[in-house]
């Protein structure tokens, strides 16, 4: 007679119980709710909002940081590119190079001009993103090495439960 190992017999009675399904469902609803709230109530004024309604946001102090790069360096400032849109930024900024990521605090003037207040040039940001892929892959491989999908439980279990 073939005996099932202890782990297998346990797994028979620990599948997706109604409580577990409800928990997952509840957490998913919470996640969707937080995402909706985060979008709907975020008070940040973005450059895209200003460009969409220049009259409304004229004179507003805004933060620009999301994937904003230098498109061109000009005499009195630079041209900023964000989400495919180009905006002139007036103000002193040292050591700027085309293609660099920047974060800035600026006053928006209609129809589409930024008066620079504060700037940070995120040098090496592109390198940082690419370098970050290495530990990401390593951690995911480590997880795959340590855990496996148990189709009986429809969940993840240890590959080698004896490991301490």
């Amino acid at each position: 007679m073939k005996f099932l190992p202890e782990e297998s017999t346990n797994s028979l009675c620990t599948s997706w119980s109604p409580r577990r399904i409800l928990t997952v469902f509840g957490l998913l609803i919470l996640i969707v709710g937080l995402l909706w709230y985060g979008k709907a109530k975020n008070p940040t004024i973005t450059l895209q909002m200003c460009l969409a309604a220049p009259q409304r946001y004229d004179g507003s102090l805004i933060e620009v940081g999301t994937e904003a790069t230098v498109a061109q360096v000009i005499e009195d400032g630079f041209i900023l590119r964000q989400m495919g849109k180009l905006v002139k930024v007036v103000g002193k900024a040292n050591d700027l190079q085309v293609g660099e990521f920047v974060g800035l605090l600026a006053v928006f003037h209609r129809p589409g001009l930024l008066e620079l207040k504060k700037i940070h040039v995120a040098k090496n940001r592109r390198t940082k993103i690419w370098v970050s892929v290495i530990p990401l892959v390593m951690v995911l491989l480590f997880c795959i090495r340590q855990y496996r999908v148990d189709f009986r439980q429809l969940g993840l279990t240890e590959r080698n439960p004896c490991r301490t």
């Binding site: 997952v24 999301t66 951690v139």
Partner: protein, 164 residues
Amino acid sequence: MPDLITHTAVAYLASRPRSFARYRAVFYLGTILPDLISRPLYIIKPELFVYAAAIHTPVFLIVSCLLLAELFAEKLRSGVRLFLLAGVGLHLCLDLLQRHVASGYFWLFPFSWQSFEVGLFWPETPLSLAPLWIGSVLLTEVIIRLRKLKVKSGSTPEPKAGFH
């Protein structure tokens, strides 16, 4: 965020105690989770930044950890939950030390849109120290392996007299 090499190296050094052994992979996963679920969103599609602002917050990440833990077998779940949360906590502690040109992360979301940070370094700064982190990890790994070898060689039984 500091780069993921910094986050993972700090997690590696923090997870040396024996109590981490069973859940080390999960701890690492927790350490990279905040960036794993928020960054690709707006690096690939910057228009989705409004969602990313909500994702990289303690409340959202706690809910995500609870949801992720539900994917594991019941006997692992509480441990996975704990170590995922510990990893996320470590990640957020490092992020708290950063500085931004304007507002940083919304630590109290969804209760408040206030943002605060210690401001020790810019997000890109730790990248220049990546060789140091990698060196520390390698050195620790070498020391651990040497210790294991020493323990192994010390525990081999002495040959009995008369056998040689």
